[in-house]
Amino acid sequence: MKRMGLFICHCGTNIADTVDVEALAKRFESYPGIEISTTYKYMCSHPGQEMIKESIEKYNLDGVIVAACSPTLHEVTFRRVTRASGVNPYQCEMANIREQCSWVHTDNVKATEKAERIIKSIIEKVRLNEDLDPIKVDVKRKALVIGGGIAGIQAALDIADAGYPVILVEKDPSIGGHMAQLSETFPTLDCSQCILTPKMVEVASHPNIELLTYSEVKKVDGYVGNFKVLIEEKPKGVDWDICTGCGECSDVCPISVPSEFERGLGERTAIYTPFPQAVPNKPVIDTDNCLKFKTGACGLCSQQCDADAVTYNDDPNYREEDIGAIVVATGYELYPILNIGEYGAGEIDDVIDGLAFERLLSASGPTGGEIRRPSDGKIVEDVVFIQCAGSRDPEKHKPYCSRICCMYSTKQAMLFKHSVHHGQPYIFYIDIRSGGKGYEEFVERAQREDGVIYIRGKVSKLYRDGDKVKIIGVDTISNKPVEIEADLVVLAMAMVPTPGTDKLANTLKVGTGTNGFLQETHPKLRPLESITSGFFFAGCAQAPKDIPDAVSQASGAASKVVGLFSGEYLQLEPTIATVDEEKCSGCRICISVCPYNARVFDEIKGIARVNEALCESCGACVVACPSGATNQRNLTDEQISIMAKAILSVEEEE
């Protein structure tokens, strides 16, 4: 018979004021299996822990019940204590008599009774607990980073610098992401390219990083430490192994289509590198627009290429990789202007989004850094920035704040003023959110030194008026209507997850939240991790954030991966499903209810097994099993039943 010890904590007065802990300890003294029942002021303190250790030795205990706070708080602590005394840590359980009893009740007698019910149920559970060891699995020490923006780049570099091989997969022909499109960055006004491009080059030349651009993750099987990942390298039309990146192919290409990188304000050819500093600096063929693919004619680029690198091949290349951990850094896109009717729904040339304005500001942009109107190329004199275009609008668009718009619009207004000294920037805003190191000072500076006019209020309407755009709004501070005739309107569109994030999340089996961003396990306890083990998040794929936050999160995710790789093996929770092979009829119902593909059919024995590394302990298969062959370790049907019986058997005091 199990020899158990019950240790009831006063938690100062937190428990003891409401629950009569001494009476409880006395009540359990003669309870079957309880060898010692005692109390202490602070059980989690050093003397409290020592008391448990001494009692384990003195009474030769093999089961420990700590009646104190929530197991979320101190289960780890007391299991460590138990293990240190040579008792299996899974023989220690906590009875939650603080959060779920003393803190929510006022009547001493009733609260003490409830504490008795809670403790009794946990004693009965421990009575049937078995010794368990964490499940050990091998780790493939190779990481996959999905997304080659600044977050993905940082994560890949950090993991690679720690000595582990990394595959960086990027769907576009070049890494760099949206940061490569930016002119300068707030609040320091560093040139974006100057910070970013050295990192891009470092990725390409790092001995531990394999860069796969123009590629996508198609399938992920397996589990933490042991993923099998299928990667598709999209057909580039050019053999990159022999291409020298001279660029003569695009010089002769007769096709001209709007450039994605220039947000439609500039053009590119059908065989193209997205931007001059692209990494790798090799072209791909846009098969939707290439004449060779459309009509079979042309072939100019191929004739021009001295290296004979233009192949026009259109077969993707697939490769399977063994991966231990995956960082998802798929970034963001801007909410399309088309969705916002009151701001012209994309029909007015001179209404553009924030990223397009970055291209106008950029020295390497389509206008060479001169701020010209898209409609007629005239230098812009009055520019209006509208905040929260799609953000903070739960009725019609997105309910959340996109976090960076106040700051980048301020920066853009400043840079505009630095370029067009006689121009006037206006910013319509709801609130200016400048929380961040040096951010508030930056907004101050924009007003003081650059004369940026901030108007608190929403724009109700804008429309084309001659060669200008007429903006109608209200200044809600002076309560007066405002009309501005602008040359250019810049919308700070809401940030949304990159299109396809939902599909990728399904492929990876990681969750997304209500707004489509990747869902972390817990915002404070595990902010970098997916609920599915082995996946880590970095950058805007998880939520809108600025570059400093994206980079910090990326380094955090990288350190999680490195931590996972640095152990000899992985340890997983052992409280998973088990199968009684004698009872299993091989009906496979468990396989159909398992969300993790953790139940697998053993063709030889004709039974369903549990893949221990995949099982996440939900217990759905235990309930679904019609023959009672499946059970859950240390939370068996018998244990649940006896816990309920214990709760229901506590008598009310007369």
Partner: protein, 148 residues
């Protein structure tokens, strides 16, 4: 005569409702002490037989708490629970037990207030229903369980 104090077992998932109950505690939100939680990994871990057995063992009410639809830690465990509870409601009715004695609610880890409100509301509704009286000491349920 003493007031009727219902005995209620709550089967709650670790990720949402149990955490919601903890939050009610850390926020010091008071509620009536008739319920006791059994922490499961997921609400879908709860057997239909176990619900029956709880009534047989003397529960006046059984409360099941899971994550909101779409928020399940195990992707869609809560949908399985919902189906089972719907079936259970019909079985309870057939057995002459008021289906209202079994309640399923979605309570997230951030909804301490909702937890307190729903638990109090459930306790009140069981108080209104009065103690569960099983015909011939629950023989009908015994039979129901043994024929499974």
């Amino acid at each position: 005569m003493k007031d009727f104090e219902p005995r209620i077992v709550c089967y709650v998932c670790k990720w949402c409702t149990y955490a919601g109950a903890d939050l009610a505690g850390t926020s010091r939100m008071k509620h009536q002490p008739n319920t006791t939680n059994i922490r499961l990994m997921c609400s879908s871990r709860l057997n239909m037989e176990q619900i029956m057995e709880s009534f047989k063992d003397g529960a006046d009410g059984v409360f099941v708490g899971g994550c909101h639809p779409g928020d399940c830690h195990y992707l869609y465990g809560n949908y399985k629970t919902q189906k089972r509870i719907m079936i259970m409601h019909r079985i309870l009715k057939d057995l002459g037990i008021e289906p209202e004695r079994l309640r399923l609610e979605w309570i997230s880890a951030s909804e301490g207030k909702r937890y307190v409100e729903l638990v109090d509301d459930f306790i009140e509704s069981i108080k209104t229903l009065g103690p569960l009286k099983l015909s011939s000491n629950g023989n009908s349920i015994e039979k129901e369980i043994s024929t499974k």
